[in-house]
Structures are given as C-alpha cells and as structure tokens.
C-alpha cells in the first residue's frame, strides 16, 4: 500500500479513494492497490485520469477501462465519495 498520491492541489477540499488493480493492469503498473486524493466532486473518469498520471507506467491503462465502485460496475460520470473503493478491471475473461 502506497501513501496517497496527492493530486488535488488543495488539501482542504479533497476526498481519498482506494483504487485496486487486477490481472494485467496490476502487472503492467506493478501495483495492486493505491490511494488517490481527488477534488470533492471528482468522477470515476477523473480518478482514472489521475491514476494514469501518477502511477508508474500509468499510461498502459486505457483511458476508459471497466471500473467497479464498491464491487459493482459503474459508469465514468459517476461522482465519487470519500472512502470509495474503485477496482480497475481488465476485459473480463471468466468462464
């Protein structure tokens, strides 16, 4: 677990979300989990953009990956709350 990457710029108006990476994404980035600090009102899309900037090799993750919020798939425009848990999911391949 890394210390939160600060990307909000303003320490007094941010939320912290946990971001988990799986399978190929975890492998290419070399991380299974990190925390992100984001401005209040940040969306899933903004969280992904932030993650792509701050983690090593972040651009290997697509701009619009499948994302789960608190164990359910979620759309990019969904607004995040402090303490949310995001999962970045490579294309599913169960079965």
């Amino acid at each position: 677990m890394h210390a939160p990457y600060e990307t909000a710029g303003m320490a007094d108006a941010h939320i912290t979300v946990t971001c988990r990476l799986f399978a190929r994404y975890a492998e290419t980035v070399g991380l299974e989990e990190c925390e992100l600090e984001l401005p209040v009102g940040a969306t899933v899309r903004e969280a992904v953009a932030s993650l792509r900037r701050v983690v090593p090799n972040g651009s290997s993750i697509p701009e619009q990956p499948l994302v789960a919020l608190n164990k359910q798939q979620v759309l990019p425009d969904h607004v995040l709350l402090d303490g949310d848990q995001l999962g970045l999911l490579p294309p599913l391949a169960g079965g």
Binding site: F22, Q64, P65, L66, A93, G94
Partner: protein, 143 residues
Amino acid sequence: MKSLVRDPIDVSKLAEAVSSNHLGASTTFVGSVRRGPEDGPVQAIEYTAYEEMAEAELARIVSEATERWPEVELAVQHRLGLVSVGEASVAVVAGAPHRAQAFEACRYVIEELKKRVPIWKKEVLDGGVERWREDGADAEGKR
C-alpha cells in the same frame, strides 16, 4: 456453497446440491480448458479474480435468475488458480420442474457470468510462456 473454488469442481456433487424429488429437469453447463487448434499449445490456464466482487456479482446473478424463474434452483462454481487442459473451469446447474426453465436459467447464469463477473485468465503455453487472454467482454478488447 462457495462459488469460487481452488480445488477441482465436482460437477456431480454440484448437481446433487440442486436435485430434489420435485425437480424433474436439470440442465448443467460445464466450461473447461481446451486445447483447440486456434488456441495454440495451451497447457493450462491460471484464473484470478477480484474475489469479493466476483462472489457478490455471482450472488446477484443467481438472485436475478431466481426472481425471473422462481421455481428454479441454481448452483454455480468457478475455479481459481491453475486449471489444466481438460479440467472444468466453471459449472452451472439449474434444476426445475420443467425443462424450458432449466435451460433458460442455466444459460442466463453463464452468459451473465461471462459479461459481469471479474475473473481473468492467463494462458500457460508449452514451454512455460504465459500470456493474458482477454475475450473482449469490454469494448477495449475489441479495438
């Protein structure tokens, strides 16, 4: 019964879990690791999952199916870890009073599982080379 398992799937046992004297029909789907010509020399597949979400998503799928076909009883297992060619990676059993429901509910569960349950596979080829295999359930996979 836990849906994600690390030991070989016992399909007969899974089927027994949903059999009872008032269910006259059962449909079972088994997916297994195959060594098809277009797959190359696959020896095994290693399955990983976002386990908490996968269990929750499987429970949601079963619950949706039970709402749609109230008389159907369902059991589903997906294997994680290394699965050799010929071994089952997933099994779905639907028991019902009548066969139409059994077929439809079984099909629903496997189709939704493939679309929604966060599981990934890495192929282990002859010689030990590994590669992620993404079927394209995501738009990204189709690009």
